[in-house]
Amino acid sequence: MARTADKLIPPGLAYIAENIHKSDNILGLPRQAKSKWAEGIEFSKDRSTIFFAGCGYQYSAMLEPLVNVIGTADKMAVNPDLPVHLANLPKKLGMDVAGIFSKTVAGDKGGESAVLRDAVKVLKALGLDIGYLGEHEPCCGAPLYHIGVRNKFSAHAGKSHHAFKEAGVKRIISIVPSCTYALKTLYSRSGVEHDIEVLHFTEVAADKVKSLKLKYPDRVKVAYHDPCQLGRYMGLIEQPRTILKSIENIELVETAWTSGEWATCCGGGGGFEVVFPDISRKLAAGRVAELAETGANIIATQCPGCLMQLKSGLKDLKNDKIEVIDLATLMARSLPG
């Protein structure tokens, strides 16, 4: 990374960029770790349509302690812009990334990776035959673009596109909003001829949801939190609501001013949570308070960042009456049988 970039990118973000560059994932974990969430799931050998898992859900277990450590440093008024080599950041902050990873996976508490299993379950129930690239799934590289290192992003996008083509991929069903937006829009904007169809899980699910008879186990009120990149960037506002309205026992409730294109950001947008962790938590609590006003029992959303933020917001508000879950999980729970 050029010297200027070293100096001007906030360290939390620079750390993520360096990991993508070196290890093809946001936390710098070994390649084999990538497909751990999918152990035991049978995927189609045909890879013309693939499920794209991305980094966010599977690594959220590690992202959370990283954010917390940066947050603690921030609160202690230690300047988190530590003059250390970026790759050593977690170590300097007293964090053992690989250790946390093996612990969470061994203890079956792999952060939000259960969401990925739920999403695949739903897609299968919808009759889709999907493949998965496993440990060969390339990182989308989106954070590089958001951080500002576009040259690196373009190079990365070119490599990833090549990996998709090599595997014979024609259609991608992606689940992390920022990965989806990158694959859908940013690749072609960055000089890559990305002739692969990219869909978000919600688009596919909303299209076919009527073919299933979904019923949530209990009668609940659900407020839907629109992730910024899903709602405002990609316009997927109606689709999740179509899904929610089709599930028996669920009553969809909306906030007065702040839903759909007017949804309030959870406070994790644009990498904000690793730059200003404490303000980010306040924003999360504010967003949860807005959603709680609807009287919802469940806050559903579809983004690993939003899930993490909203959960921390609930904790800060000491609200244990509301559950935050991913729409994929909510659908999986509503599947018959």
């Binding site: 050029a2 200027t4 970039a5 100096k7 001007l8 990118i9 906030p10 360290p11 973000l13 921030d74 008024a77 300047n79 812009d81 673009y145 958001h146 951080i147 500002g148 290192v149 576009r150 040259n151 910024c228 405002r232 960037y233 001013w257 294109e261 007017w262 949804a263 309030t264 950001c265 406070g267 947008g269 644009g270 990498g271 904000f272 730059v275 200003f276 404490d278 303000i279 306040k282 924003l283 504010g286 967003r287």
Partner: protein
């Protein structure tokens, strides 16, 4: 040292300040309600905003020609017009016109903030009064504006009462009507004893050289009407080709600026004149005898060359985006430089050339994009921020 330590501290302190949060949450609620009602009452505004965007897109590509055309018109109207390439030039021109030892009444102006005009004039030994109530409070508090239209948005009435009590030596209650009356009394005679009145403009018609001044308080009318000299400093992006265009820009501006119907819109094209005695035109009848207009480039032409960042020049300064920014909702103008929030980051880095502040602000923006939904010009702030980050780290 990507995010400056002072900025980080300021921002964190502001986010922990319950008064800011309370003041802002009230302001946001009332802004949303008012705007909803006003757009319901005048539904043509939305379509008109689309038209205005086309006018702005065209105008920003022709700022220099428009400034020259407007200058010719103003000179024909017997005013004086100047084009300043830089902030320094603008200060030099205005400094030359003003000199020292003058009493100046000033309308609120973001462009004046941008070049720190008041500070400059004060250093030259002039007595400058901010006449907008919010700006007057800010000036007396020795603070800085926290919103482009409501600069004192973060100051509750109790603090204003304390401040005005100090100024007047009376014990004033925190009653808003009393405080407004006090400000009126404090400023009243200044308008009529001032040597110079200063303003900016919300939009300028190049064909007639007409400045549009939108307000509710009436301070701009007095400040630009009573003193013998009127000096206006205007960013070049405010120029549009015709009077008809300017009316449209003005209407869209006030509607999104939460004015509904503003109490006053002043159209000023030249000095005051009369021909009532023997049809001999004589300047300086009841209003100013001299009218000076300074159009400021200050990096705007350079910005207009960037297909993404030029969007900042379409901004009508309605302030709507600020009410939708989650970070602004917690921190007010501390997420700011001369201008605020995401769009302010571009101003800081590219116009004010404060790279440290600009980059700090660029990484403060959530890129959530709700501001864009509100913006009548559909300015894509996330897209600009990502471009700005890129231009900072890969120059």
């Amino acid at each position: 040292m990507t995010i400056s330590k002072d900025y980080r501290k300021e921002l964190r302190d502001a986010a922990g300040n319950e008064r800011i949060r309370l003041a802002l949450s009230r302001a946001i609620k009332s802004y949303r309600e008012n705007t909803k009602n006003t757009l319901k009452k005048f539904p043509h505004t939305v379509r008109m905003a689309e038209e205005v965007l086309l006018i702005k897109e065209h105008s920003v590509q022709h700022m220099r020609e428009l400034a020259e055309e407007a200058s010719r018109a103003i000179e024909e109207n017997k005013g004086k017009a100047y084009i300043a390439d830089t902030a320094e030039q603008a200060l030099e021109i205005i400094g030359g016109l003003v000199g020292s030892g003058k009493l100046i009444v000033k309308a609120k102006s973001m462009t004046a903030e941008e070049i720190e005009l008041r500070e400059h004039l004060e250093e030259a030994g002039n007595d400058v009064y901010e006449t907008d109530l919010g700006e007057f409070i800010i000036q007396k508090l020795n603070s800085r504006p926290m919103h482009i239209l409501s600069p004192a948005i973060h100051v509750p009435r109790e603090d204003v009462a304390k401040l005005f009590s100090q100024i007047t030596g009376k014990d004033l209650p925190p009653d808003i009507a009393t405080l407004v009356a006090t400000a009126r009394q404090l400023l009243r005679e200044k308008y009529f004893t001032a040597d110079i009145g200063m303003s900016s403009a919300n939009v300028v018609a190049a064909d007639t050289g007409t400045l549009f001044l939108i307000e509710n308080e009436g301070n701009i009318r007095l400040a630009t009407g009573a003193p013998p000299i009127h000096i206006a400093l205007i960013g070049m992006e405010k120029l549009v080709p015709t009077l008809e265009d300017a009316f449209k820009v003005a209407e869209v501006t006030w509607r999104y600026a939460n004015y509904g119907i503003p109490s006053y819109v002043s159209l000023v094209s030249g000095p005051s004149k009369t021909g009532d005695i023997e049809k001999v035109t004589t300047y300086g009848a009841h209003g100013p005898k001299e009218f000076h207009v300074i159009f400021l480039d200050g990096g705007r032409t350079e910005l207009a060359a960037d297909p993404i960042l030029r969007q900042v020049l379409y901004c009508l300064r309605c302030g709507g985006c600020l009410y939708e920014c989650p970070v602004f909702g917690l921190t007010a103008g501390y997420f700011g430089d001369k201008y605020f929030a995401g769009i302010g980051a571009v101003w800081a880095a590219k116009v004010h050339k404060n790279l440290e502040k600009g980059s700090s602000m660029a990484y403060t923006c959530l890129t959530c994009g709700r501001c864009k939904v509100r913006c009548p010009m559909k300015i894509d702030v996330p897209e600009m921020i990502l471009k700005l980050r890129n231009s900072i780290v890969e120059p």
